[in-house]
């Protein structure tokens, strides 16, 4: 494993004038994609705000059923994974390719940990019967408690899906990094997946207080 990774020169695409234009185009396109992702999640945040306005006391009662310690742990895990992702991009910029691969593997494992913790949380919810409306069979003081869990599962489920997609992309990055595609003059895919990963972390930063730490 300690074989030095051989750099594979990157050929700029035919329709771009130079790699600078290629990199900036990719970054602009990525930011447009992130803008679209934010608005995609905005629908869920608006639904959360509207239903919290409609049933405020139910939300407070419901959030007691969530284990904030697990939520906090997940937040820390995601922040660490963001850090390792940024370090991976940086090490590619300074041609430390071995270090870049290790950081990517670290990010991947943090993401895995996040999903495992999420799995435990879901397991405890299912066992208590706190599922979206059709399958909700726990007794509850509030007759519309199932809406909270409907919103909870939709938000965290969609976010979990984005984490899984992120993990797939990181594997793809690890394979390419091992083959020496990334070096100081070309690390665009690495930076783009990094941006995507930071957005996934960003959304969890807002999800955590809204769902787990109510009043």
């Amino acid at each position: 494993m300690n074989k030095e990774i051989k750099i594979k020169k990157h050929e700029v695409a035919h329709h771009f004038d130079n790699s600078e234009q290629e990199f900036n185009s990719a970054k602009l396109g990525m930011w447009a994609f992130l803008g679209q992702e934010i608005l995609f999640f905005s629908g869920l945040f608006v639904a959360y705000i509207i239903f919290r306005m409609m049933h405020p006391e139910m939300f407070i009662y419901a959030s007691k059923h969530l284990d904030w310690k697990m939520g906090a742990l997940n937040t820390v895990i995601l922040i660490l994974s963001s850090f390792t992702m940024v370090m991976a991009v940086r090490s590619a910029q300074v041609n430390k390719l071995k270090q870049c691969v290790n950081y990517l593997i670290a990010t991947f494992s943090f993401a895995g940990m996040f999903m495992v913790v999420k799995g435990f949380e879901y397991a405890s919810k299912i066992s208590h019967g706190y599922l979206p409306a059709k399958f909700f069979n726990a007794e509850s003081a509030h007759e519309s408690l199932h809406i909270f869990f409907g919103i909870y599962f939709t938000m965290t489920g969609l976010h979990g899906l984005h984490v899984l997609v992120g993990m797939g992309l990181i594997i793809w990055l690890i394979i390419k990094a091992k083959k020496g595609h990334f070096y100081e003059d070309y690390y665009t895919p690495l930076e783009m997946v990094g941006l995507y990963w930071h957005l996934v972390d960003l959304i969890w930063i807002f999800l955590f207080p809204l769902l787990y730490l109510i009043g």
């Binding site: 329709h15 602009l28 396109g29 679209q36 608005l39 905005s42 629908g43 639904a47 059709k134 519309s144």
Partner: protein
């Protein structure tokens, strides 16, 4: 760069496979054009059958449920499969890089991916049409959409996937306009068609994701019943309308802005005169794109929405009407002191001008709170949005198609038949939809399978108009296909247009320009540029 430079993009690669894996924006544009014409035909047939059914209050062809499935089919196909992708994906893909002097769009592979996502989404829609078609209307209002047993889930999945094709096209265009302009082409030397596509892309990227989450929530609501939209368990159906219209009003501007861009091209080339108020038109495109996010509530004045919100939406609706008015006045003033050549593309331009203005004035009627109470969900609204969408976008699309046909295929169509078809479409269109204004204000509600006998004469006259218009569209189809088999070649700029796409051969070479053009003049400066 090898020999590819001066062979036109049709002959550059042969065989079916070369079309399937092409990343050339011109070929992708033509493939989009084929799908869009097919979707328009399918949607048009559905409308024709509906109108025949409405010849009499009792059953002519369809039962009540079938009629409801047909109007949903007509709405969904026309909106998601035809009108949103029509100008940006077909003509936009082909001409955006050409007009800014680029070799291709910023992400060619992504461009091909969005074409395949479009096809994949279209398959979902076709599947759901065949297997228990949806009967909820293209708006999928809950709680009806969550309680009906028709295949709402596969249709919403289809629309969900089509949304991504639209987002990716929008992203591609934003980056292309920002990063791929020819040297010397500043923002105010770009043609106005590019400005309108840029404004459309902002809308596509920032509005479509909310449609995606709305449809996703609808699917989750239908399968798991999370109760956000279902009133029986504490949800709020009006909230669904907010989610749906937050996307769908910017969507109607996604539909009209590209057509407005084509108008600026037609009104300059066929009057051989620089556009009147270039900056005004460019800024009003962007203004429309931004203000369009503030007005969606005028679809919901009567839906149980609070009166405060309705009042604010009504006021903002009037503000969004102003930029469109400015554009129309600018186009008319462009004709002043021009040298006007009444070829078919320009005839479509003029019919856009008048039909879109009628649509605009009736839009102001519908934006007024007290009048909307009477007019809402009647045929008045049906006539209004057909005047704006069909009178606007379809006329713009046909105008652009005829204007750029020689450039795309290197063949000229038959001018005589084109004028006849344009007249037929114009007359037929007004027969169909002007009567519907009167039908609507007289109280005929929308989406009615059978109606009171007293409305029958108006309905029959409206249906007869669809046959005239249908004939017009058939003639257009015939002579355009026929033009492909003509022998004589077409010069670089048959209409005398001077924007960049007219400075290369028609059909253009694979990389658009022999050598990258240097731009040092305004896009429509007829004095400086002599072709």
């Amino acid at each position: 760069m090898g020999h590819l430079e001066n062979i036109n993009f049709f002959k550059a690669a042969k065989g079916f496979k070369s079309w399937l894996i092409t990343v050339d924006h011109k070929r992708i544009g033509i493939m989009y054009l084929l799908f869009i014409v097919a979707a328009f035909t399918l949607g048009g047939l559905a409308a024709g059958i509906m109108r025949i059914e409405l010849l009499s209050p009792d059953k002519v062809l369809l039962t009540a449920k079938q009629y409801n499935q047909f109007f949903t089919l007509h709405g969904a196909i026309m909106v998601f499969l035809f009108i949103i992708p029509s100008i940006p994906a077909a003509l936009g893909n082909f001409f955006l890089p050409l007009q800014i002097g680029a070799k291709d769009v910023a992400f060619p592979k992504l461009n091909l991916a969005s074409l395949y996502i479009y096809v994949f989404g279209a398959l979902f829609c076709v599947y759901s049409m065949w297997h228990g078609a949806v009967d909820t209307g293209w708006t999928f209002y809950t709680p009806y959409s969550t309680t009906t047993d028709t295949s709402v889930i596969s249709m919403t999945l289809g629309a969900f996937i089509l949304g991504f094709s639209s987002i990716l096209t929008g992203m591609n265009f934003i980056v292309t306009v920002h990063k791929m302009r020819a040297p010397g082409m500043t923002w105010f030397r770009m043609p106005l068609f590019v400005w309108s596509l840029y404004a459309t892309s902002i809308l596509q990227v920032l509005a479509t994701p909310v449609l995606a989450i709305t449809l996703l929530l609808l699917i989750v609501e239908k399968t798991m019943g999370i109760g956000i939209f279902d009133p029986a368990i504490g949800g709020d159906p009006v909230l669904f309308q907010h989610f749906f219209w937050f996307y769908s009003h910017p969507a109607v501007y996604i539909m009209i802005l590209p057509a407005m861009g084509i108008m600026s091209e037609l009104f300059t080339t066929f009057t051989k005169k620089n556009i009147f108020g270039y900056k005004a038109i460019a800024y009003s495109s962007i203004a429309i794109a931004l203000v369009s996010f503030l007005v969606w509530g005028h679809h919901m004045f009567l839906s149980g929405q609070s009166d405060l919100a309705s009042t604010i939406f009504s006021a903002l609706t009037f503000i969004v009407a102003i930029p469109s008015a400015i554009k129309v006045f600018n186009w008319i003033s462009t004709m002043y002191k021009g040298s006007i050549d009444l070829k078919t593309p320009f005839l479509y331009g003029l019919s856009f001008l008048f039909l879109f203005s009628v649509g605009g004035f009736t839009g102001i009627v519908l934006g007024t709170l007290s009048l909307d109470v009477h007019m809402h969900d009647t045929y008045y609204v049906v006539a209004h949005f057909h005047y704006v969408m069909m009178g606007g976008t379809v006329m713009g699309f046909l105008g652009g198609l005829h204007y750029w046909w020689p450039k795309m295929f290197g063949k000229m169509y038959n001018e005589f038949w084109a004028k006849i078809a344009c007249a037929l479409i114009f007359v037929g269109f007004n027969m169909v939809f002007f009567t519907q204004f009167i039908l609507g204000s007289k109280g005929m509600p929308r989406r009615y399978y059978s109606y009171l006998d007293q409305f029958q004469p108006l309905h029959q006259f409206s249906t007869s108009g669809t046959w005239v218009m249908g004939l017009g569209f058939i003639i257009v189809f015939i002579y355009l296909i026929n033009s492909l088999f003509r022998k004589e070649e077409v010069s670089n700029s048959p209409w005398g247009g001077i924007t960049l796409e007219w400075q290369t051969t028609s059909p253009p070479p694979v990389y658009n320009f022999i050598e990258t053009p240097i731009v040092d003049n305004d896009p429509y400066d007829f004095e400086k540029v002599k072709i």
